[in-house]
């Protein structure tokens, strides 16, 4: 059975390999190119200020934008093309009748096709995601915080997990609807829905770190005209952190709301909390070092979703094949 599955998926697997190799090659080229630029113009530093860094941004911002688009689209496309036709094409060409009237049971047929047609694809995309992390290192200055959209979704373990999800949706939809087109369409739609829905929950994966970033003295506005600016403690937050929110507390430790006009007004308005006493600003954030933890959690979520979708397809197959 595994030979038949390989022969059926051969063209697709080789195509995915080709795409992954080309993409990894392009990324490697740009990493080398960026490092060479920094060595020449920045004395080898990852971040230098001035015209050299402006030149760096000009040179690579187009590439990083294109790369993000490509890496967002690639798991959807690969999952769709690898998963959609996996079973649906068999049903459309009725070759499932040929396979299942030999000495192969339906569960083995299903499992073998998934393993042979799915696992290499996911592994290749996972590898591409890891290459993307490595290749993006010099460009992180441009890319921004790695924990945030779209940097987070366009590199790392999640590339493999997204592909896995799209593939399982395509495969199971193929078992349900027996149409390649429907399976591929559903694969893309559910990929986008899941990406948005799961992404919205990302900040809750771990409880955020908090740090006091400012104290607003009684009766002052920190950013208003003529004010001296707040006593900033931003250096307490690492630069690669994902800042979530600023929260304000009065001297008794109760959280208060801080309207914009109280921060930026010319004079302190009548309803501003700092009229009653000094207000402490506490910033919550996820430190950049959590990148791998967040990648693992998000990948785990997509793997579980994929397993649920697979179970649904298997249940369908147990009930009906013809």
């Amino acid at each position: 059975m595994s030979w038949v599955a390989w022969r059926q998926q051969r063209l697709l697997l080789l195509s995915v390999l080709g795409v992954v190799v080309v993409a990894a090659g392009v990324m490697t080229y740009f990493r080398l190119d960026a490092n060479a630029y920094l060595a020449t113009n920045c004395g080898g530093q990852a971040d230098c200020s001035g015209p050299a860094m402006d030149g760096f941004r000009d040179r690579y911002s187009g590439y990083t934008m294109f790369l993000r688009l490509a890496m967002l689209a690639l798991p959807a496309l690969v999952g769709m093309f690898a998963g959609g036709p996996l079973f649906a094409r068999d049903f459309e060409q009725r070759t499932h009748v040929l396979s299942l009237t030999q000495s192969v049971g339906r569960t083995r047929w299903w499992a073998t096709k998934l393993l042979v047609g799915g696992v290499p694809v996911v592994v290749m995309m996972l590898a591409l995601g890891l290459v993307a992390i490595w290749a993006a290192e010099p460009m992180n200055v441009i890319q921004g915080v790695r924990l945030r959209t779209p940097s987070f979704e366009t590199q790392g373990l999640v590339i493999g997990a997204y592909t896995l999800f799209g593939l399982t949706v395509g495969a199971s939809a193929g078992l349900l609807f027996r149409s390649t087109l429907a399976a591929m369409a559903l694969s893309v739609v559910l990929y986008v829905v899941a990406l948005v829905a799961v992404g919205a929950q990302r900040e809750h994966y771990l409880p955020p770190e908090t740090v006091t970033t400012a104290v607003i003295p009684q009766g002052t506005t920190p950013y208003g005209p003529g004010s001296s600016g707040r006593a900033s403690s931003d250096e307490n937050i690492p630069e690669d952190s994902w800042r979530l929110a600023e929260n304000y507390f009065d001297q008794h430790g109760n959280q208060v709301t801080m309207p914009m006009r109280c921060l930026f007004g010319e004079v302190v308005a009548a309803d501003c909390p700092q009229l009653t006493g000094p207000i402490t600003e506490v910033t919550s954030y996820h430190p950049g070092i959590r990148f791998w933890a967040f990648q693992s959690i998000e990948s785990g979520i997509f793997a579980v979703l994929g397993a649920v979708v697979l179970a649904l397809g298997w249940w369908r197959l147990r009930r009906r094949v013809l």
């Binding site: 059975m1 063209l11 009725r94 299942l100 192969v104």
Partner: protein, 296 residues
């Protein structure tokens, strides 16, 4: 001496969402027979075969292949099946198709399958989607026979073939039957193709078995009588008339098991296979029409 039963059904029924495709089906097909499975479209022929392969599970009753019920881990090793549309992997070459047969079956006779391909004159490096309908059927037949089945089921194997290809496929099939002694269940609606080939008959209509048995026995049991139409009513014992038709002044009556009618103006003779089957199918069709009219 007890004969081996290749395929047996008892109270077999299959219900789809739209209704019953087969209901209360019972028959036995002894080993070594070449059986014709005939019936109009929608009679349940394909459903019956799918139940035997295990692609479908019965709603009621059982179907047994050499005494065994179908299991989930693949089709019974003694059963070979050629589906109506002869599904093959379109992008595979003929050689790869045989390789697939070998990969999917522990009991695979590669030399035999290769011989069948060679006899068919199909180039082994040709892709399936470049083959003609006749060639494709020969390849599908080689895959079905490569498992070395003792019971071969073919669903409308000749339906989409030209007359020359039909003869070739039928000749190949009969040659292999003669050589191996395997049992064959062949469905078709072209009765002329089956006459002289089949020695067993299974008539399916409206989801049930109408007639089943040895062809010679069945033909001998029936009489086709032709006589004046005004005289036909009440002439035959009730229950013995399979079908009675009148065209103008002449009546044609198919009778099962009745003593010869000896009346002036009536001629009796043994029906042909085609006459026999058509009479049963027509009477089943009328019964269905009456039932629908009553329920409507």
């Amino acid at each position: 001496m007890s004969t081996t039963i290749a395929l047996a059904a008892a109270e077999l029924g299959k219900r789809y969402k739209r209704g019953w495709a087969l209901r209360g089906c019972g028959f036995e097909l002894p080993a070594g027979r070449v059986a014709a499975l005939v019936g109009p479209n929608g009679a349940g022929k394909s459903t019956l075969m799918a139940l035997a392969t295990g692609l479908l599970t019965p709603t009621t009753g059982t179907i047994r292949i050499f005494g065994d019920q179908p299991v989930r881990s693949g089709t019974h090793p003694k059963l070979g099946f050629l589906a109506q549309d002869k599904p093959l992997f379109r992008r595979f070459t003929v050689a790869e198709t045989l390789h697939a047969g070998r990969a999917l079956n522990p009991t695979w006779d590669q030399a035999y399958a290769e011989r069948l391909i060679a006899e068919a004159g199909v180039p082994t490096q040709a892709r399936i989607n470049t083959l003609s309908g006749g060639q494709r059927t020969r390849v599908a037949l080689a895959v079905a026979l490569g498992r070395r089945p003792e019971l071969l089921m073919l669903d409308e194997p000749l339906a989409d073939l030209d007359p020359v290809a039909r003869d070739e496929v039928m000749q190949t099939l009969m040659a292999e039957v003669a050589e191996t002694g395997m049992t064959v269940l062949l469905s078709s609606h072209v009765l002329a193709e089956l006459d002289g080939v089949c020695d067993h008959l299974l008539v399916l209509a409206g989801g049930g078995v109408r007639l089943s048995g040895d062809v010679d026995d069945l033909l001998a049991e029936h009489q086709l009588l032709i006589g004046p139409s005004e005289d036909s009513a009440g002439l035959f014992p009730t229950g013995s008339v399979v079908e009675s038709r009148s065209t103008g002044r002449q009546a044609t009556v198919l009778v099962r098991g009745a003593a010869p009618v000896d009346r002036p103006g009536w001629v009796a003779h043994e029906p042909t296979l085609e006459e026999l089957v058509k009479a049963y199918l027509r009477s089943a069709g009328k019964a269905k029409a009456v039932a629908e009219a009553v329920s409507a």
